[in-house]
Symmetry: C2
């Protein structure tokens, strides 16, 4: 067995070993970045799967025991549980830097005492699969991870968190929790709400006639309703602001169609295409 | 050279040899369904490409000459040009059954004399590529093609048109031109308008942070603005009706978010997921 000094971290604990948590473990192990990777969860079956696919080196159903003596704890549970779990981890592992992978940030920061050593993370992977069996060591390669340090964050902790994600292959972007929530409202939460509304507005008997267009546009509506309900409500204010901005844009498209204004409509479509063409595919 | 009797059609003319027209030619040739396949277009370069990739056996920049003596003529030009071209073809090839591949139908039927031997077709391929160089012989395999016969259509012509598309591997669905336009407003034109509005509402600097969710939802916004402007305006009334229905659905989602009604929001997301899950992937 290699000695501790070969590793960047001695012990990392992952709370919640689903797709994201499991992939973090697998990526850490593949790159030999942590000597011990403890998976913590309520369901023994998920922990067994995570161990079987090689995401973790040990597991526990007891949060306090599992995180004890960890250098770094990554909370990978649904957004509604994160604040409570950060608090529990902070008591059980006072020496650990704590991060999460939740889709919203300001609500977490607001719920935590400023003395807690927590810095939020959000890996933007765009993968709707779930469960430890889908864990992939390359899930974060070339993906963006937003981290949200505050004025209270220690510079060394910010460096450590950047190192974690960049070691897994991600591009790390740093911004405030509030700015993060505004950004993801636009690029993730609003598209999810709209994709769901488009699917919901489509009569059943039309769906079988649909092709790539409808199917691409509504793909994320297949996401887990319970999970997304939490995310959308956790980011309510920014989501509603983004929805207002969308409504304004949509009103311009509607007006051009109503007025049969071919010039205006083509200009609107061209401006939209220009923004979409900035990314591939 | 094989004798004529080996072929289902002696001569098929394709007006407009882009992705769809070129693919029809390629699919016909691969299956040895027509002895002669004449491509007609304004640009010699496109015709040369279509010939090079094997989509057509002959070409002409003269519509009347190109379609003379054809058994079947397929118009594959943008929707704004279809009515005029059907009329020209009907004069130049009085013995031919004429069809098209346009995305709207009622406006075409309304523009044509009822004595003209035209039955509309709409292959729903969901492919945003353009140009004869992208022609693919299997473009229609397992795709839906909607045909829109009217009360004036001859039963033999309807059978011939069904045979054309089913020979190319497509599933053929028959409905009225008006019903067609109502369906495609929901599954194609509204999603296009909304995908464009979502892209247009996204600040440039957020786009580089986007992942699969935003990118799937806005993919079709990359389509050709000039082409889509025509399609959206050609189906204006049904599109606005579909937009009203979407607005109603969206208002329910917005209200649930505003009221922070977790139960209602999860129900809405679940209903949307159920509709989306009816198709794969």
């Amino acid at each position: 067995m290699p000695t501790t000094s070969k590793y960047t971290w001695n012990k990392i604990a992952i709370v919640g070993v689903g797709l994201i948590g499991g992939s973090i473990g697998l990526a850490l192990r593949k790159r030999r970045l942590a000597k011990e990777i403890v998976g913590i969860g309520r369901r023994a079956a998920s922990l067994a799967t995570a161990k079987r696919v090689g995401s973790i080196t040990a597991s526990s159903t007891n949060l306090a025991k599992g995180v004890a003596d960890a250098d770094l704890v990554v909370i990978c549970t649904p957004v509604d549980c994160i604040v409570e779990q950060v608090q529990l981890v902070a008591s059980a592992a006072p020496g650990a830097l704590i991060t999460d992978v939740g889709s919203t940030k300001a609500n977490i920061v607001a719920g935590l005492d400023r003395t807690i050593r927590f810095i939020g993370s959000h890996p933007i992977t765009g993968n709707e699969k779930r469960g430890p069996q889908h864990a992939a060591a390359d899930l974060f390669v070339n993906r963006t991870v937003i981290i949200t340090p505050s004025d209270d964050s220690r510079p060394g902790d910010v460096r450590q968190l950047k190192k974690l994600w960049s070691s897994l292959g991600a591009k790390v972007v740093s911004m405030s929790a509030d700015e993060h929530d505004r950004v993801v409202a636009g690029i993730s939460h609003l598209p999810h709400l709209l994709a769901s509304a488009i699917a919901a507005a489509t009569p059943d008997r039309y769906v079988t006639l649909s092709a790539g267009g409808w199917q691409d546009t509504t793909r994320i509506a297949a996401g887990d309703p319970a999970l997304w309900r939490q995310i959308l409500l956790a980011n309510r204010d920014h989501l509603l602001t983004a929805l207002d901005q969308f409504d304004e844009r949509l009103a311009a498209f509607r007006s051009a169609v109503e007025r049969q204004d071919a010039v205006a409509l083509e200009q609107l479509l061209t401006a939209a295409k220009k923004i979409r063409d900035a990314v591939t595919p």
